[in-house]
C-alpha cells in the first residue's frame, strides 16, 4: 500500500541524508521523495511516498519522529489530499504530427515548453495516475526522454501540516 507522508524538518545540512539513511537501513521502500523549502526559511518539507503495510507505516512514522531534526510527521489520507508531480516529456514529432500532439497536450492540461524540428517537450503537473495515462497516450509517437519529480502533496480544506497545529 502507498502512503504519502509529509515531514517537516529543520533546514540543516545533512537532514536529507539522515532521513534517506533511515529508510535504507530499516528496509522501508521509498517510491518518491521531494524536498523543498517552506514559508519558514528554517524549515524544509520532505514529502515521501512509501510502500508498506500498516505496521511498516507506523514504524516509519515513529522512527522518523526519533530523528532529532524531524519536527513533524503526518501521513496524508488519499481522500483528503491534493497530490502533484511535474513531468517533462520529450516526444518525437514531425511537423505533420504537431496538431495531434498539441491537441492531446491541451486536452490533458499540459503545456508545450519546447519545440524543435522533430520533437516537442511537454510539461504537465498532475497526480501520478493521470501522468501515467498521459504517458501512454504519447508513447505511440516515440518518447525520447521523461523527467519526473517526486510527489508533493497538501491536505484539502483549511487544515495544514505546519508548526502551528
Amino acid at each position: 500500500m502507498k502512503h504519502t507522508i509529509s515531514v517537516l524538518v529543520e533546514n540543516h545540512a545533512g537532514v536529507l541524508a539522515r532521513v534517506a539513511g533511515l529508510f535504507a537501513r530499516r528496509g522501508f521502500n521509498i517510491d518518491s521523495l521531494a524536498v523543498g523549502i517552506t514559508d519558514d526559511e528554517h524549515i524544509s518539507r520532505i514529502t515521501i511516498v512509501a510502500d508498506g503495510s500498516k505496521y511498516t507505516l507506523e514504524q516509519i512514522e515513529k522512527q522518523l519522529n526519533k530523528l532529532i531534526d524531524v519536527i513533524k510527521v503526518k501521513t496524508l489520507s488519499p481522500e483528503s489530499m491534493v497530490s502533484r508531480e511535474l513531468i517533462l516529456i520529450k516526444v518525437s514529432c514531425t511537423p505533420k504530427q504537431r496538431p495531434e500532439i498539441i491537441s492531446i497536450c491541451e486536452l490533458s492540461r499540459g503545456k508545450i515548453s519546447d519545440i524543435s524540428a522533430n520533437s516537442v517537450t511537454i510539461e504537465i503537473s498532475d497526480n501520478a495516475q493521470n501522468l501515467n495515462n498521459f504517458e501512454e497516450l504519447l508513447r505511440p509517437y516515440g518518447i525520447k526522454e521523461i523527467v519526473r519529480t517526486g510527489t508533493i502533496a497538501i491536505q484539502k480544506g483549511e487544515q495544514a501540516v505546519s508548526l502551528k497545529n
Partner: protein, 545 residues
C-alpha cells in the same frame, strides 16, 4: 554569567565542566590536539586507553553506573572510526554518551586529506544524534544540546565532530542554562487514559507478570518497580539487560527469560495472562520465550514510542518516563480497597524453580557455572559484574545473583572485548565498588591491552578469564547446526594469560580446581590492585543448563 573570550578548545572543556564531567576516556592525535592542550590546563582527568574502541566502552561502563552521559574522545580519521563499534554498542543498549572527535580543517573536508573520515556520516546509523561543529559560535549550544539529547528520553550516544581550525577559533563563550529543541520533546508522564486501562488490566489479572528490562536502570526506577511488584504481589522475570533490577533472592523473582533463560521464567511468560513490560524492548533473543503468545494482555511501558508494538503487540501502550509512569500506577494502586494477592499463581510458578547443582569438572578443570556461583558467594553485595560476549556471558548471566549490584554486558550488539574496558569505566566512576570483568579467552584477546590502562591510572579492576581454548559459543553452533564441522573456533596459539598479566605487573593466579578457585576468588577480592584469574574450564562445557 557574562560571556568570556576564549578558544573553542577551551570552551569545550568549559562545557564539560558545566556538565559535571570529571573523567574522560580517550586517545589523542593531531586533529584533536588543541582540545587536549586545554584538557592539560583543566582539572578534567584524562584516561588514556590503548585502543579508541575501548575509550567508547569505558565511557559506556562509566555512564551505566552513574546514569549520566560519559565522555570519550578520539582524533580524526582512524581514531574516530575505531570508535564506531563502541558507539553502536552504546546505541543498542541505550547508554548515554557524548563522543568528541577531531576533524581535519573545515576547508579541507571532502578532499580526502590525511586522516580524514566522514565520521558523522559513518556513525549516523548508530547515534541518537550528531553534530559537525562548523561554526565556532555554535559551540556552547551544540554541547548543551548534545548532553541534553544523550541524557534524556531514550538515552543514547551523541557525536560532536570538531574541525581542527574550529577548535582554534576564538569565540565569546557563555554556557546556556536551559535548552529547548522544538523537534525533541521526550515524553514524560504516561497518558492518563492508558494508565487507567493498565490499572484495569492489573485488577482483572489472575496471573500478572512483570518483565523487567534495562530501561529500569537508565530510568532510575529500580526501587519503584520493586515496590510495584511487592505491593501488588506480582512475580517478576527479567531480560538480560534487566538483570539485577529485582533482587535475585526475592521470593517474587523467577529469573531471566529467553533462549538462555531460567525454566521458571520462560514458563511464567508463557502462562501469565497479563504481562507488564517495563523498559524492555524484548529483543529477538528474549522474544523466543513468548513467540506463540497471542492470548494475553500486554501492558508495554517504554520511553521510546518506536519500541512499543515493534517486537510484540501491545494492548496497553504507555509511552513515558518509567519513573513517572510507575509513580502514576502506584498512586492508583494506593486507592485500591484491598491489596491484590496472587498466591495461587505464585505457587504454580514455584514448582518450576530448578535448583540444579553444576556437575564437578574433571581433574585440572573447573565447571564455569559452579565458578560463577562461587564467585557470587564471596563478592560484596554492591559489586558490578561486567560480562563479555560468548559462553562467558551466558554462564555469568545465568548464574550470577544480584542484590544491589549491577550486571553490565553488551546485550544488544553482543560486542566482544567489552568487559575489560567497561569495567575500567565503571571502576573509574565508582572506585570504592568491586568491579569484576568476566571474559573468555577469545574476548580477552581483543581487550587485554587495556590492562595497561588499568595499571597506568590505578584503576583496580578484577579480571576473570574463562579459558577453554575455543570460541565456545560459535563452536556450540557448529556442533549443533553444522554437524560438528569445527572451523575457525580453536584458539590454539593463545598465550599464558598469567604471564601476560605478569608482563603488565598485574597479580594473577591460575585456577584449575575447586580448591584453587576458592583461594583465587579470595585473593582477587582482597587485592587492592588489579587482579587476574585465569580459570581453566573443560572445552566441551556448554551454555545450556
Amino acid at each position: 554569567m557574562a560571556s568570556e573570550r576564549m578558544t573553542v578548545a577551551r570552551a569545550m572543556t568549559e562545557c564539560l565542566k558545566a556538565e559535571g564531567i570529571k573523567d574522560i576516556f580517550g586517545y589523542p592525535g593531531a586533529a584533536i590536539c588543541p582540545f587536549y592542550d586545554e584538557i592539560y590546563k583543566s582539572n578534567i582527568r584524562h584516561i588514556l586507553v590503548r585502543h579508541e574502541v575501548n575509550a567508547g566502552h569505558a565511557a559506556s561502563g562509566y555512564a551505566r553506573v552513574t546514569g549520566k552521559p560519559a565522555v570519550c574522545v578520539a582524533t580524526s580519521g582512524p581514531g574516530a572510526l575505531n570508535l564506531i563499534t563502541a558507539i553502536a554498542t552504546a546505541y543498542m543498549d541505550s547508554v548515554p554518551m557524548v563522543i568528541i572527535t577531531g576533524q581535519v580543517n573545515s576547508d579541507q573536508i571532502g578532499r580526502d586529506v590525511f586522516q580524514e573520515a566522514d565520521i558523522t556520516g559513518s556513525a549516523e546509523p548508530f547515534v541518537k544524534h550528531s553534530y559537525l561543529l562548523k561554526k565556532p559560535e555554535d559551540t556552547a549550544d551544540v554541547f548543551k544540546k548534545a548532553f541534553y539529547i544523550a541524557g534524556t528520553g531514550r538515552r543514547g550516544p551523541v557525536l560532536i565532530d570538531v574541525p581542527f581550525d574550529v577548535q582554534k577559533a576564538e569565540i565569546d563563550f557563555e554556557y546556556p542554562e536551559t535548552v529547548d529543541i522544538r523537534s525533541y520533546r521526550p515524553s514524560t508522564k504516561g497518558n492518563g487514559f492508558q494508565i487507567k486501562r493498565a490499572i484495569n488490566a492489573l485488577k482483572d489479572a489472575k496471573k500478572p507478570l512483570i518483565c523487567a528490562g534495562g530501561g529500569l536502570f537508565t530510568g532510575n526506577a529500580v526501587e519503584l518497580m520493586r515496590k510495584f511488584a511487592e505491593v501488588n504481589d506480582i512475580p517478576v522475570v527479567s531480560t538480560m539487560m534487566g538483570l539485577g533490577a529485582m533482587q535475585s533472592d526475592s521470593p517474587l523473582y523467577y529469573g531471566m527469560i529467553g533462549m538462555h533463560g531460567a525454566k521458571a521464567a520462560n514458563i511464567a511468560v508463557n502462562s501469565c495472562d497479563t504481562l507488564f513490560l517495563l523498559g524492555a524492548r524484548v529483543g529477538d533473543r528474549a522474544m523466543s520465550a513468548m513467540e506463540n503468545r497471542k492470548d494475553f494482555t500486554v501492558v508495554h511501558i517504554d520511553i521510546d514510542p518506536a519500541e512499543i508494538g515493534k517486537n510484540i503487540e501491545a494492548n496497553v501502550p504507555i509511552v513515558g518516563d518509567i519513573t513517572l509512569v510507575l509513580g502514576q500506577l502506584l498512586e492508583q494502586v494506593d486507592g485500591f480497597e484491598e491489596r491484590l494477592s496472587h498466591t495461587a499463581w505464585r505457587e504454580e510458578l514455584e514448582k518450576y524453580r530448578t535448583e540444579t547443582q553444576p556437575a564437578p569438572a574433571g581433574d585440572g578443570y573447573v565447571n564455569p557455572k559452579w565458578f560463577i556461583r562461587t564467585l557470587n558467594k564471596y563478592l560484596p553485595e554492591h559489586s558490578v559484574v561486567v560480562a563479555d560476549v560468548g559462553q562467558n556471558q551466558i554462564w555469568t548471566a545465568a548464574n550470577i545473583s544480584l542484590k544491589d549490584g549491577r550486571f553490565l554486558t553488551s546485550g544488544g550488539m553482543g560486542t566482544m572485548g567489552y568487559s575489560v574496558p567497561a569495567a575500567i569505566g565503571a571502576k573509574t566512576a565508582c572506585p570504592s565498588v568491586e568491579v569484576v570483568a568476566v571474559c573468555g579467552d577469545g574476548s580477552f584477546q581483543m581487550e587485554f591491552n587495556e590492562m595497561a590502562t588499568a595499571v597506568q591510572h590505578g584503576i583496580n579492576i578484577k579480571i576473570i578469564v574463562i579459558r577453554n581454548c575455543f570460541l565456545g559459543m560459535v563452536r556450540e553452533v557448529q556442533e549443533r547446526t553444522y554437524d560438528n564441522r569445527l572451523i575457525g573456533v580453536s584458539l590454539d596459539g593463545s598465550p599464558d594469560f598469567c604471564k601476560i598479566a605478569e608482563a603488565y605487573g598485574i597479580e594473577h593466579m591460575l585456577v584449575n580446581s575447586e580448591q584453587s578457585a576458592v583461594e583465587g576468588i579470595g585473593k582477587l577480592i582482597s587485592s587492592d590492585k588489579p587482579y587476574l584469574l585465569e580459570v581453566v574450564v573443560p572445552e566441551h562445557e556448554k551454555t545450556i543448563l
